[in-house]
Symmetry: C2
Subunit: 604 residues, 2 copies
């Protein structure tokens, strides 16, 4: 019971029902003035596909009016139903709704303040007539009557694998078979969208297996479930990378995905006349052309390694590589290693090198958000994703919706006090780090880790122990420095100091996902589509103007038939649903007009 | 709400609480006369490990008295708690309880009639201090602090696989890696019991993959979940064999079982002095000796093929094999096939041969229980295992316990009216079968399929379509016959008729599991342990005297350190828990005295 003692549930239920009745009437009569009169002066409507066929937040009454003017007829929402008890929520009162649209069923969340809508969140959850064949709708597995020529599951599956991509083209092709690609493919399979996933590695899960050996997920298990097949209840809190690799490999098999491993995409071209892609791949050394209608790039939000150009790189006599190519510290016992960067990978790699007996120096160029894993779990993630949450009835799906119900303009504001508390409870920890010379921040506006992740996908470390090594000087630190140049035997810093080095690791992050397009399609298409990720917060690496949703992620782009999917396991799970529904709707001719696409403000 | 309108829940709750208070007091004071006075004239106490360290049902007050005299001190039950609302149940009123014992925690089910106990069911569910590391107790996956020599999950797992069975002996060895063996191994792993599973096939799941190609499970998905990793919610109702094979293979991997494939057990010998087994295996052609303390035979309740000896078998020119070796009908188009038997495999194989264009004759030697799959689901299985059941809050675990809460003496009686209804609703179906000459029964006492399964593990067909082919004469039928002898080109029946044949399939079932012992250990041990399966019902293939539980299954046998595990997926799931707890308790020195072992009445 999270209700406060003086919270009058029945009165609030009545208030929500009244609001909903008036809202429904105003929508049905297309009386937009009456609709927006139900919204407060400060108000947000976040829509996932249901109204806008986009992932879109509008802010303020005028924007709500404009959005509905364009989308109300095609959406024809009805049957609004209050399906939860209103509860105090983020300084307002919130409750869950269900509704129908012209093509499907939706869930919504409404927060009222003084009787008016403060935040509204609408989602399309399934297409009518194209529901997943689960539960009572599941396939029988056998016909229960016999006839010559009846095919077994095994024969049907073998036939599908023999045909798809050869005599029959997939409707959708997903480039990249990490958690994002396969979560999407699993959803598409349930929706009967013929799909091929291609991945350059030999086995599903290899993208994880091949990383440095000490890697474990920094997010806890409750946050990391894949769609449809949750981890068992003894799964470790922080999944070791090889175990995750094995899970993803089994997932591909059990979900019956059409997964082409050892397959590299070499070029893609959109044939606008035919409305389809021509994608060239190399599979086990053989060249093949696929012609999907929809092409999804799922090569990792952290996919395109970003290595800085530094004078002298060609003269350095030791080894140098990007963090994504770093295998682990075993070969570096007694060697001198310099790691450029101070985020997650940099910390993990430094700690691993130190454990293996290397001499390690971390170069911190700019301040970093550090949050201790346990603290983060207790004060942030655990509210929605934990055993406590499960006991309170918040399952993974509800947690995903709850998290998404907060508009991205509002979320940072709600997080500031949380990180102020974190700064207090872990004050001694932060003091030790500062004393070691480490530059700390909680984001430019103090709004914490998740916001920083959405803005730039970098700039933080979830501490699982390496910070202690930094504080104790076991991992040496140079901060407020850049590399001036490399010399054959080491690194010259901008401070003038010379660090002898046998190994340099560039833990310098990743470029925007549209960089892949420049390589595989053309620089023109990459530019037209523009930067991925970030919300336009006008903070470092996330220039304005404000867009309110992640750029180009899980929604239509400026290139027809081109989509981006990715992110951590949580995003891969939740957003794959909305992307899958958009793709299925296009296949079935059910998709409405896309509304509210942002202009492209940035190329990379 | 299954409560009838005139059911006074509060009064019944009070009655249960009163009963429980008196029961608890009488147990604590060791006043057995007062305990048995709480039981009715007809009464049953079924115990799974909690009191008897056995799987045991006692019947009547005297037997309850005797059981408690022997077990009460070691069990020291306490903390009895009513944990469900009493409900009308099988002509009585039933409710769920929890309790503690000297070593662990238990669940119980109590049915009261006129205020006295009619049926009591007690189970040990976990050992105190040895709880599964799940939920809040799960492993973190990483230490969150660094130190030289820290091992990754991958390294620990590789080390375990390198050591176990070589430099370190498993505590437990499971022969047979089908659903039974791996369900048990998964539970043992959670309990930290070092275990090796050996299986002769190249890949887990092959025992299913290698069967005739049209095979699908005859039990529906809700009944078939493995422990810890339920099938996804779109899993087909009747799992195709290859899909099940793939699932089991993934299960072995994901549950991190120590599974030795391509490994054949060739001999086993018990060293009584050392209290351990010496088990010789051939693994990939190499001979190895394992020395486990506990040896579990999980080679399939339907494991030991039973082929009748028939004069002329050595002269038959065509092919002849047991149903378990039958690959499917593809090679038999236009050929004449005779299938001896009329149970599940016989029907499946006949239908498959017919679909493949063979000329098929089924030989029915004795009457067979036929139940249509849909009817069975609707009237029998679906009460506990279905979407309806799930919606009513009956999850798999609760369903397993509900099913087990009915003593085996009582269950047949409750099933008679159910099968009378089935005979009515499917009367037209049964009439067509009888008209085709098919001999039908519902068990000797009309008690239906599950009872027949427990009594003899045979004698029935769950109709998924083949009966229609029999009724229509597409599968030819000879009933009330045996094979007199084989001739080079066919089969001579006891009626004198000669059936030309290119193929003879012996769908003649399986022998008792202790036949394996005669082969691998010695005939003496096989005889000492005696027949497996069956309850002593004094019906065909299940001779008396009444034993009340399946012989030798999941409980101590007359051979120390020797256990049997097996059965369908449902039994593999549920009973593996109690077997795993018995093994773990022995490993930790926590097991109490076994009470109530039956004398061996039958050798096979």
């Amino acid at each position: 019971m999270t209700e406060t003692t003086d919270f009058d549930t029945e009165a609030h239920r009545q208030q929500f029902q009244d609001w909903l009745d008036r809202f429904d009437t105003a929508l049905r009569t297309r009386d937009l003035d009456r609709v927006v009169a139900l919204f407060g002066d400060e108000c947000y409507w976040r829509d996932f596909v249901a109204f806008t066929w986009n992932i879109k937040t509008v802010e303020g009454r005028d924007a709500v009016h404009a959005m509905l003017s364009a989308t109300l007829d095609q959406t024809a929402p009805q049957g609004w139903k209050l399906v939860s008890t209103p509860k105090p929520d983020a300084g307002a009162v919130g409750a869950w709704l269900e509704f129908d649209t012209s093509v499907g069923r939706g869930k919504a969340h409404l927060r009222l303040r003084d009787g008016r809508c403060w935040t509204f969140f609408t989602t399309l959850r399934e297409l009518r007539g194209h529901e997943e064949k689960k539960g009572r709708r599941r396939w029988r597995g056998t016909d229960h009557h016999y006839g010559p020529g009846r095919k077994t599951w095994q024969e049907l599956r073998a036939a599908e694998q023999a045909e798809l991509g050869h005599t029959r083209q997939p409707y959708c092709m997903v480039i990249g078979g990490g958690q994002g690609g396969i979560a999407l493919a699993a959803r598409l399979r349930r929706l009967d969208v013929p799909t091929i996933v291609v991945d350059r590695h030999a086995r599903p899960g290899d993208a994880w297996r091949k990383r440095y050996k000490s890697l474990c997920l920094h997010d806890p298990v409750w946050y990391d479930h894949m769609p449809y097949l949750p981890f068992p209840d003894d799964w470790p809190v922080f999944t070791p990378k090889d175990k995750l690799g094995d899970w993803l490999e089994a997932y591909v098999q059990l979900m019956e995905l059409n997964y082409w491993s050892s397959t590299t995409c070499t070029a893609a071209r959109y044939d606008a006349a035919r409305g389809e892609w021509e994608v060239t791949v190399e599979r086990d050394g053989r060249q093949l052309v696929l012609r999907p209608k929809q092409l999804v790039f799922a090569m990792g939000a952290s996919g395109y390694p970003s290595v800085p150009k530094i004078p002298g790189q060609d003269q350095f006599a030791g080894q140098q590589h990007h963090s994504s190519a770093h295998p682990g510290g075993e070969a570096w016992r007694g060697k001198r290693c310099v790691v450029l960067g101070s985020n997650n990978s940099a910390h993990d790699i430094c700690a691993d090198l130190w454990e293996n007996g290397a001499d390690v120096t971390m170069l911190q160029r700019s301040s970093t958000l550090i949050a201790r894993s346990d603290t983060l779990m207790e004060r942030v993630i655990g509210k929605l994703y934990s055993e406590d949450a499960l006991e309170a009835g918040i399952d993974t799906d509800l947690a995903d919706l709850m998290q998404a119900s907060v508009p991205l303009r509002v979320a940072p504001r709600l997080n500031v006090p949380v990180y102020q508390q974190i700064a207090e409870v872990d004050a001694a920890f932060y003091d030790r780090l500062r004393a070691a010379g480490f530059m700390l921040d909680f984001g430019e506006d103090g709004s914490g880790l998740h916001t920083k992740y959405l803005r730039r996908g970098s700039g933080y470390y979830i501490d699982v122990g390496a910070s202690e090594l930094v504080a104790q000087g076991k991992i040496k630190l140079r901060s407020r420095v850049e590399i001036e140049c490399l010399e054959p035997d080491g690194v010259r810093l901008t401070t003038g100091e010379k660090l002898p080095a046998d190994l340099i690791v560039y833990a310098t992050g990743y470029g925007s996902m549209n960089t892949w397009l420049a390589e595989l399609i053309s620089p023109e298409v990459a530019d037209r589509v523009g930067k991925c990720w970030g919300v336009g917060s006008a903070t470092t690496r996330d220039p304005g103007p404000w867009e309110g949703e992640l750029r180009n992620m899980w929604k239509p782009t400026q290139q027809p038939g081109l989509w981006f999917h990715g992110g951590n396991l949580s995003q891969s799970r939740h957003y794959s649903l909305y992307l899958a529904l958009q793709l299925k709707a296009r296949m079935e001719g059910l998709a409405g007009q896309v509304w509210g696409m942002e202009a492209v403000h940035h190329k990379r």
